[in-house]
Point group: C2
Chain length 136, copies 2
DNA sequence: GATATAACTCTCAAAAAGAGACCATCTCTA
DNA sequence: TAGAGATGGTCTCTTTTTGAGAGTTATATC
């Protein structure tokens, strides 16, 4: 069957499927999306979608990420197969991170939301201001 | 200018722009994406994209969300303008949540990643298993 | 009168994230 | 030749976020 035409309802069912079995680990969407929607993941994917970067470069590119979170997020992305990590035997060894083929494919589908966010920032801010003025 | 053709590089710059100003609140992408990529947001959006639901229905639909997080996530989505909340003056008052026009538009762009996740679960799992066997 | 339903809020414990010190190794500069 | 800086991390401690679950107000049902 073609999963592209599955309804939201079906997706919810998939999300729920595993809850009934007692855990969350087997739900396909949640399983995958969990790591992509991580606080720093989309940002790092955006960077790596453009070109490979070294650890220190990423750190400078994203100044407000802690080294701990950079290490951890990169490892998670590597573990899921989106990112390739290559160590070069230079004097202080350097490490380069790049998107894998699958990483690029995934990013293609992620891009849409990022674009939307970029283009609709003002509307969201306006909605937020309206809410704060009314409901609070 | 058409933001749809902006490169990843430019996006990163946008992400970074506000860091230089000392806070994160003004970065458009991060600002918007933050709430969409919340742990429970995409799941609730998936549900509401299909049809309106009442509070208790959502709770039963997503059994592993705590009431605290359901309330909070819904309020955040409402605040950002994706979700409409309507109170009906029944005896114990009931509340219905539905997607706004903007919510539907946003969901259209979010859908792509969710589809990708649904269709590539096996690949991700395989990558993960490979990583765990090798690197650990 | 006890119990259930509705949509929440509140408190406390557990998990995750951030800040920043520390590490080994090598090169470059003073 | 001593010190500083760059490499890519780890470790510990504190703060923030999340989850679990009891409590709330008001009505209806048995």
């Amino acid at each position: 069957m073609d999963a592209r035409i599955s309804s939201a309802r079906q997706k919810i069912e998939i999300y729920r499927a595993d809850v009934r079995k007692g855990g969350l680990a087997n739900c396909p969407i949640r399983n995958v999306v969990q790591n992509i929607f991580d606080k720093w993941s989309s940002l790092l994917l955006m960077a790596l979608a453009e070109q490979p970067y070294r650890f220190g470069e990423l750190r400078r590119l994203v100044p407000d990420i802690s080294q701990r979170m950079l290490t951890q997020t990169l490892r998670d992305l590597q573990r899921d197969g989106y990112v390739h990590r290559e160590v070069f035997p230079t004097k202080p060894p350097s490490v380069e991170y790049s998107l894998t083929e699958m990483g690029h494919q995934m990013y293609d589908s992620l891009q849409h939301v990022l674009h939307w966010a970029e283009n609709n920032d003002a509307r969201v801010r306006a909605a937020r201001a309206r809410f704060d003025a009314t409901e609070r």
